[in-house]
Symmetry: C2
Subunit: 134 residues, 2 copies
DNA sequence: GACAAATGATACAAATATGGTATCATTTCT
DNA sequence: AGAAATGATACCATATTTGTATCATTTGTC
């Protein structure tokens, strides 16, 4: 029942750190030192972020990662999608059986409403919004 | 990211069926026949429901299960708690690191709000409300 | 009392998801 | 050429989910 798994969490932290050091090329080593994330796992995560257009990577000496787009346009929801698949709280419960409600399923309606609400809220969470000191 | 796991789902279906046949003693065999649930798994689930005060069980020939309380007072949330542990979407993401927001964590605040909302909604879902044809 | 029909308790097992490691190839700067 | 970085990919350990299997106990009926 976790909304956010470990890899999403790590990705979020890495992106925040990279965003906080904007205009600096950030190698994996720097992130490992700063955040407390196992190196090979972080590397895999960074590669995934790169493949999915959230980071730009630069190989070779002096290389590393930078944000692929402004922090305002990177959403927690993006990370959830990348690492946890499409956001879907709401698969039909009575999978193998007809729903007890012949016409419209109250349960499905309600879970749909919940999911919509969660989505709306998640859509407001960006990397930028997590960095703002206020 | 499932809100509801298989055992919760099965429990819900079983309870609905038992509720729909109120005043009838319902043995596990009856439920297996009606719903499409593997028998040993269902038996385990029924035993759990009994232990947690959601069903009353009667042993011996002619025995079976009945609701332990009115369908209006059995909540989906009860099932989630029993089978999936306490409802908690919201463990701190930056577990091992200081949060980027020194004082109050925007992320935690927001996830808290989401969790509260989901809880409020879930609290409205009872077995009775799923049975109502309307 | 014997037997059958039910649940109780509990241990075991398979499948899947999660959280990670390890290795080698490739690029690029110096 | 060599070092420092990422890319690709295969592997592995653990936890969780989704079950199965077995035997003991209770209880109604003949
Ligand atoms: S639970 Fe799926 S339609 Fe009702
Ligand atoms: S994420 Fe936990 S306090 Fe900020």
């Amino acid at each position: 029942m976790k909304l956010v798994t470990r890899d999403t969490d790590y990705a979020l932290r890495a992106l925040c750190y990279i965003a906080a050091h904007k205009d600096t090329m950030m190698p994996a080593g720097g992130l490992v030192a700063a955040l407390d994330i196992p190196r090979p796992f972080l590397r895999k995560i960074l590669q995934t972020l790169n493949r999915n257009g959230l980071l730009k990577s630069y190989k070779g000496q002096g290389g590393g990662f930078m944000l692929a787009k402004p922090a305002e346009r990177i959403f927690l929801l993006d990370l959830i999608k990348v690492f946890q698949g499409p956001f879907k709280l709401n698969e039909c419960l009575f999978k193998r059986e007809a729903c007890p409600n012949t016409k419209k399923c109250v349960l499905k309606q309600r879970l749909d409403r919940i999911e919509e609400h969660v989505l709306r809220e998640l859509k407001n969470i960006t990397i930028a919004s997590l960095l703002r000191k206020h």
